[in-house]
Amino acid sequence: MTDHHEKPTSPIALHHALDRIWGTKSGWGRLATVNHNVVGKRFMLTALIFFAIGGLLAMLIRTQLASSQSAFMDAEQYAQVFTMHGSVMMFLFAIPFFEGLTIYLLPKLLGTRDLAFPRLTAYGFWCYLFGGSILIIALIGGVAPNSGWFMYTPLSSDIYSPGINSDVWLLGITFVEISALSAAIEIMVTILKLRASGMSLDRMPIFAWYMLIVATMMLVGFPPLILGSILLETERAFGLPFFDPNRGGDPLLWQHLFWLFGHPEVYIIFLPAAGAISTILPVFAGTPLAGYRIIIAALVSTAFLSFGLWVHHMYAVGIPHVALSFFSAASALVAIPTAIQIFAWLATISHGRPRFSVPMLHIIGFFFVFVIGGLTGVMLAMVPFDWQAHDTHFVVAHLHYVLVGGFVFPMLAAAYYWLPHITGRQPVQHLSQAAFWMIFLGFNITFFMMHLTGLRGMPRRVFEYPPESGWEMLNFFSSLGSFVMTMGFALVALDFILLFRFGRPFRRNPWRAGTLEWAMPTPSPSYNFASLPVIDRRADMLDPDVLGPQLAAGKGLLGFPRDGRMELLAVDIVTGKPEHVVRLPRQSFMPLWTAIGTGFFFLSLLFKFYWVTPFALASVVFMFLLWSRDTAEKDDLGNLPIGNGQELPPHIEAERPPSWWAMVFALVADATAYISLLFGSLFLWISAPNWPPQDIGQIGLLGPAIAAVSLVLAAWSGRQASAGGGKGAVGWLSLTTVGHLIATTVFLWLALTALPSPRSHAAVASIFVVFIYAAMHSGLGAVFAGYGIWRVRSGFVSPRRNLDLRIGVLWHGFAAMVGLAAAGFPFVLASLTSEVSP
């Protein structure tokens, strides 16, 4: 059946044949689409709606602060407004917007047809939409989060925020973060595996390099926040005292976990924008990007440094000065990779023949605003200056210079640059210039003098201030500027609407770019490329005008439909040599249903219907397992022709297909959360008051030993099952299931019976959560092993098709490591506190 492919005779026939497979269905079928073109646009549009909401909140803030004793809002309303402004802009606008842009662009830049896991893209979108909606509904209902967007404890804990407000933030944002983590995994795998044939790592378009780094940072940056949110929610809901200093917790633990995410977050937002600049600027300079390799080096060093400077948000909490000086030095150092990029762009412009255009105008705006933000950033990295400027409007000014300069202006440039790709129309340019100037001037009027407002002593987050403070005139001008800026954004919106309606259609490649996204018809077809390109040089020096027609005529690879399946090529990570054919799953409602199930899980926690929670969780796991029906094959397919006389195996018969890598990356994120949990507990031992605990229970050696042995057994037999490739796998997998079940039972039993109340002390609570963490991992291990048995029994596994089992091996091994660490953890904690024995 697999040879069932006929070469369509004309480009038009090929288009229709491919579009039948890839295109979005009409009516309700729209909800089933998984196509990156559609989902990417949905992401961006939703993010823009949230941007408008966040902007509206900013207007309320500026209206309140325009005069000193404004009666416009009271303190509680103001608290909800500033908390939501920050949360919406960070979590519901900035991150999802660049995710959307990346989802839309990345496959096109890489020369492929979709992302690695289209259903995951769709699932991520629904999680984002539902989680974001929870926050907005809470805002409308007057119960929005009100402790500031970084949710410092104890202000956000149950004693001082007894309402639902903080739960809305913790659960809603965590729901949204599912989309960030799934996007991170998907982007990494797509960049590493799904490139055009011949696109070796050093031929990748620079945007792909940027996104590879960003996605890696997201993968390890978000888990500490998610873990922190879970711990704070368990404190609020069940009284586990991780952040309560009276019971061995510490408010500073939250700050460390939050900023361990929060500072990389700034670069996670800036780097995609910088990637857009590195893509757009050379086009208008008329010359390839200067310093391709040194920029990559700069990106890698930014990524490393950004995880070593979170404490610069905490200079005033009383950490010893010598320790602060390390973080201060790291914060200063991170300016260097940024300077390298700035001067690489200057070098590019100076060696080209710059053309003026609207995107270029926004890039100049970026230079102006971002350089100021960078310079004030270096100032704030200096501990003494920060002791004065911290928590004042100076910081407010700085962060807006960095984020608006480093994200909004580049994204406006990107919007004007790529909207023709999305719409197939070029802008008419009547409003664009005026809109730019209003935003640019309005922004600087709002925020430039705000540096001074802060240094003259105005703290953040005050809803009124004394008239005699001398801050009123400065604030009035800031408010004035903000309204000019808003009108500028309204003009941009109008400009975009006019572009959609009246823009001039164009033939191909309007900016004379050298990247692959222009080597396709615009608006882009659902499948991007009718046949896949073969690359022989760096992928920003191509000629889309020659390449486009060739690919449309089916002269590249996979230029034919087969079995009605969506197909694309996976390549060797380093060399870009084609490795196997990825046969993507069909369009499906399952992502939507699974996201709805996930929504029930979060809502049950939010409204404290805890009896619903296990059912919701089980339904989500069950639905995810159902996803695998679509990609299953009952027979070995053997090698498949890919055109031009070449043949490759399908991905389920390949050694390291995308899904295997996805599991590896998911485990990296999981491990980051787990390590944050273990080190968080050790941090409490070092820092928190009221240690050591009176009693951490009678755990004994027997339970942990049984759990450890059975987990090692489970991991080993899981490996045997996959090594045997189907033969005897059922027996081995049964052993794996039993091993996991024993470990799950032991950990649950220890957590529930051998410990004193986890409410009594943070040490006990830590051990409790570590045991539950291990129990959940071995519990899922049992489910996966059982699932493996079912797959073998149903004939989906053969010696060639044992991917399911090999992915299982990764999980069983990881679950064993989690369990071993959990088994040893109470003993480590006990020996450190040394006055009690487990």
């Binding site: 509680e76 608290a79 402790s147 410092y152 104890p154 202000l155 001082y160 200093p245 510490d250 408010p251 500073l252 200067a290 310093g291 040194i294 005033a316 909490v317 009383g318 000086s325 201060s328 030095a329 200063a332 150092l333 300016a335 260097i336 300077a339 390298i340 001067f343 690489a344 200057l346 070098a347 590019t348 412009i349 100076s350 060696h351 023949r353 710059p354 102006f368 350089v371 100021i372 310079l375 270096v378 100032m379 200096m382 003494p384 200056f385 002791w387 004065q388 911290h390 928590d391 003259r456 002593g457 105005m458 703290p459 005050v462 009124e464 201030y465 403070s469 001398g470 400065l474 008051p689």
Partner: protein, 224 residues
Amino acid sequence: MLFGLGATLLAGCTGDLSALDPAGPSAASIARLWWVMLAASALLFLLVMGLLFVAIMFPHFGRRISQRSWILAGGLALPIPILFALTFYAFWQGEYLLRGGGTEAEELVRVEALGTRWQWQFRYPDTAENPTTSGVLHIPAGRTVEVAVTSTDVIHSFWIPRLAGKIDAVPGHVTYLRLRADRPGRYGGQCAEYCGTGHAGMNFEVHAHAEEDYAAALGIEKAP
């Protein structure tokens, strides 16, 4: 125009809570750092924007320098010495501030600040009666004062902009800040960390007294 802007800035720096209107060695030292960094930043900003302008308007000019030189000069040679000098200076200055802007040998006046929602309370453990004041902190002028700061509820931040930087009041921890007022007078203080709906009103006053008036201000009879 820049000069005019500078003059306006200087004139607009005064105020009861202005960090740019210092009244003690710590705040003065930080204000000095700010002016130096501001001047250097203005130069760097003009340099980068000037280069961008030249690169766009006079393409033949920038081409005489190789791309590699552009990146190495601007990305490494320019920032590294500046950042190196600045970071070391800031470290030295931080040590100076930890001493309260004075010398180590000096005898400290100890006071305690307790942040509660939404009021500051102060105690004076060095005085026999250990009195408590609310909303007003009394210190002797010309002496280095060590403030031990803590909180009983949420996180606050203790800040007297004209005297020193801020330090957080974290429940379960005690943090220390040293400061000194050069002259007797009244200085504004406030909470800098958002602590709930009363945050904006969580202000206090610092009364710095001449040495001989200090005890009287605390309501303590002077020893005969």
